[in-house]
Every structure is written in C-alpha cells, then in structure tokens.
Symmetry: C2
Amino acid sequence: MTDNPDELERLRKIQGGDVRTASRLIRNLEDNLPEAKTAIRQIFPHTGRAHVVGFTGAPGAGKSTLVDAMISVFRKQSKTVGVLAVDPTSPFTGGAILGDRVRMQAHAEDPGVFVRSLATRGALGGLSRAVGDAVHVMDAMGKEIIMVETVGAGQQEVDIINHSHTVIVVLIPGMGDEIQAIKAGMMEIADIFVINKADRDGAGQLENELISMLNMVSEFPGGWRPPIMTIGNLFDAAAFREDVEKLADAVGDHYRCLVETGLLADRLRRKTVMEIHDALHDAILSPILTELTQSGEMDRITKRILQKESDPYTIADEIAGKYARDGKRNRMIN
Amino acid sequence: MTDNPDELERLRKIQGGDVRTASRLIRNLEDNLPEAKTAIRQIFPHTGRAHVVGFTGAPGAGKSTLVDAMISVFRKQSKTVGVLAVDPTSPFTGGAILGDRVRMQAHAEDPGVFVRSLATRGALGGLSRAVGDAVHVMDAMGKEIIMVETVGAGQQEVDIINHSHTVIVVLIPGMGDEIQAIKAGMMEIADIFVINKADRDGAGQLENELISMLNMVSEFPGGWRPPIMTIGNLFDAAAFREDVEKLADAVGDHYRCLVETGLLADRLRRKTVMEIHDALHDAILSPILTELTQSGEMDRITKRILQKESDPYTIADEIAGKYARDGKRNRMIN
C-alpha cells in the first residue's frame, strides 16, 4: 500500500480509533483536498465491516433526537457507534450551519461514540462522495454501527442514503399533500418506517396509509416487508426508551435478513457503482471545470452563450471533443 | 440554424405557443432524447424574454396553492404564464407521482397558461438540465412569467431554483429546529420571503426571526432587502386574493430592481455557468458511464472494488487516463 511512515502512522491511528486524526481526515474530505483521497485509498482495504444505517424523512420529523436515542441503545449493547449528520448549508458561503451537534454532547466523553457533521460545499456531486468516504473512515475506525442522518428528502438525500445498508424513513402524523408524495417516493428505499411523535393526531391514519401502500407491493426482495415502528412521546421516558429499543432490534433483524438472503451483496454493489460515478465526476469533470474557470475560458463561453452566439450543448460538445475524442480513438486502437 | 423543414415547423409551432408540440418536447427532455437537445439548440436564440420566478420551501408549505393563485393574478394583468412543477419521484421506477397537477385544471381552457410537471429520472445532474431546458421552451413559447415550483429544499432544489431570476422562499409558522436550519440555508437565495398560512400560531414569531436574520446582513446586492410577505387563510377569499396580489407586485418590483441595478446580468451569468456544467456532464461523463455499463466493464470494476483489489479513486483515475490524457496533451500542443 504505502511505505511513507507518516501515512502508515495515520492509517494506524485511524484504525486505533483516534478521534483527532479521523476528524482531520473528514474535514479534508469536505474540503476536497487531494491528500484526503490518498488517505481513503489506504484505508479502503480495511473497510467493509460496519452496518451503515441511514435516516431520512421530512425536516422537523425528529430524526436527530431519534439518532441520539439510538446511540444510547446501541452503546448498552456494547456496540461502537459512528454518527454522520449531513447538514444543509448555504450554497454560497458553504459554511455548516448546524455544526457539530450540541445535543450529541451527551456522548462526548464516550470513546465508543464518534459524531461528526458534514456540510455540503455546493459542489455538484461532491456531497455524496464525501459522505461515502466519511463512512469509510468511521468503518476503518472500527465503528460497528454507523448512522447517517440527512436533512430533507430530495434526490440528493436519496444519493446520500444509498450509502446505507438499512434505510429508515422517519415520518410524523399530520403533514400535507406534498409529504404524501414524498412518502411515496421514499417507499421503495425504506427498509423500516418510523412513525415518530406517534402520540399526535393522525398517527393511526398515517399507519393505515403506509399499510395500504405496502399491501400494494406483490413481492418484497428477500421477503423483507418493511415494518412500521411507532415512537411515542419523548417525555414519557420509559415508553420512549422501549420504542427505541424495538427500533434497534428491527435494525438488527434487517441486517440479518440482508446477510442471509444475499441482499447485502446487491446493496454493496449499488453503493460501489455510485462511488465509481462520484469518483469519475471528480477525476474527469472537475479538472475540466477548474481549468475552464482558471484560464478565463468559462467567462468567454458564458459571454458567447449570453449573447446567443452559441448554446450550452454546442459549447459542451466542443469541449468534450477537445478532451475526449483523441482519448477515445486511442482506447479503441488498444 | 436549420433548413430541415420538420425542424423549422417545430420551431414555428413552439414560437406560436402550440401546446402539443411544446409538451412533446418537454417529455423528450425528461427522457433525455438526443432530438430534444437538437430542438433546444434551435430555440435557444429565441429565448431570454421571460421573467422566471422560482418557488421553494418545505413540503407542506402550500407552494402549489400559492402558484395557482398567482396564475390568476398574472392573467388579470394580461400576462401569459408558464408553470413548471418539479415533482419528486421514485429513484428506481422514475415515474412522476403528482403528474400534471389536477388542481391546475382551472386554467386548462386558458391558452395564456401552460402548466407542465417535470419528474426526476434519478439521473444525477439530469433534473437541473431538464428544468433549464423546459424553461427555455416556455420562454420561446412567449410566456412572460414562468413559475418554477420545487418540492423540498435540499441542494438539488437549490440547483433547480438557480434557473430563476426571482426566488420566493415559502415558509409556514410552527415548524421545528431543522426547518430553522433550512431557513438559514435559504437565506441567501431568497429574494422574497412568504409566510404562508399566516393565520396560524407562530406567524409573528417567524416574521420576527426573519427580520432578525435580515438585520444581520450588512449590505444587500442592488439594495434589495427581501420583503416578507404574509399570506393569510385561503378561505377568507377576498383577503387571500389581496395578499397574493401584493406578492405579485413584489415580484414585479424585484424584476425592475434586477434590471435597473444590473443584477439581472449577474443572475443570467450564474444560470449560464450552471447550464454549461449540466451540458458538460451530459456530453462528457454520461457517454463514459453508458459505455462502461454496456460493455460490462462497470460490472468488472465493481467486483474488483468489492473484493478490495482496488478502490473507486484508483479506478476513476485509470478511466480518466484512458479518456482524457491524450485529449489534454493534444489540446496543449494546439
């Protein structure tokens, strides 16, 4: 792999669970530094043991609180835990807004828990790649359960959640029409449904709707029919803890099902194809965009398009021709 | 441009506002058919007159109802209107869920209104491109106001909303912590804030929070401080209509500000850079992905990565080397 003593030391530290080294690497991934990529190449062979659990659902559905509670349950089972909170950020300043979650400080003293937040830097395709790599870092650290929490439920979230083995869709009663549509869109990626804040009006109706939707599915891959778990009021502490423990059990059941039916291999394949796409964007498209920008060419072609002298497709074909044509010809000869 | 009589006829029909021709072209854009690209090249010189207004905000915030009401107001001002509703879809089946909005049927008989929904096909980067092109189609049809409505508020939505000249962020009172974060993320892209369902508890608090956030901004580009518009209960029809009319006035004010301060040119430049990015993805990365998949190479490299014989970055560099290296060298000699 490497014989650079600094790099070997970094790898050894990450495998030993060193929080500072891992945190620095994740920050470098966020900033898309080349050395982060080198580090990922080195830790990659030491990954693949963690169970990655993704949480998605509408904003305000209470995902963070649920993830918090799940940490405690997994820790009681003596499992080590990593949490990656994917935060929304300004597309222009690129700064994380939620930052490292204050409310997860409860676990700050526990070396078995590693919590990091990851911000979008506005780079197209960049976030999904950073999430996948941060999961690899936590995996190499030896974290047995890695929970990935996203804010929102759009296509970007679907890309992020595809890095998970088990996907939990968190819903709350009493949302409008549009949330129904999202629910439908989330239907096929959910392994477990959670009805959170289930003491609210409309919880029974929401459960019935989910059951109806599930009843329309003729066959579930691996025979896994997504269970619908309800989580009651946070302030009835004993009942809440019991609900969360049941959810943790369902997560364990799903992982066993994935392993026994061979579905895990399918998920890993899907995850890998996505990582290849992200890496290709990074290796092929990003350098072209950088060069166009730095050389001032981007300004020139933007002006031509704005003056209607050309259009984006014609310009893109011209650029593609310069970068790819000879490569292609060469490859066909080989 | 073209001397193909069929293509000239299509262009003429679209410029004449023909709904069937335009609808077919938008469907072809969604399906990413090559002929759609050719059509966009032809209509491109005939675009650039519409005012594009984007609506974003959390699911359930009532954006669709608001867009509906805005159609009526703009029609009373004798402006022609296009509406593009960007729908969430299943990442696997790719079908639109909301379809063409039933509740917009009110305007179905009015030739001055053209409503279309656009679905994500799960293709990375594909949706933003399709949205931009569908806006070009409506623009070429002569629609004076084009409203783009997105579901959700993630990064994907930001990419979509960047196709707009005026961005309206729709909020409702009484949402949780996470919505606050999204609000902050939306802060810098909002030209107008709408507090919808403003008769609900918490509307005053939400308005105060927004005012506090705006007060922290030291300078607004072009001197435009985003106004906060409140829209009351839908069932108080007269007051509701008045609120919506005020919002339409604010939209007009913003456009005048964009034109007078030269900010419009900045927006158009940003939009064009994004269109170039999308077109480059399409022209450079998509064919490589297609070839890898069809040749079976994607299966082989996925297997190598899963067996930890390699990693995504090393593989991507190999592929980039094959496609791009000679092109690059060639370009540097020229």
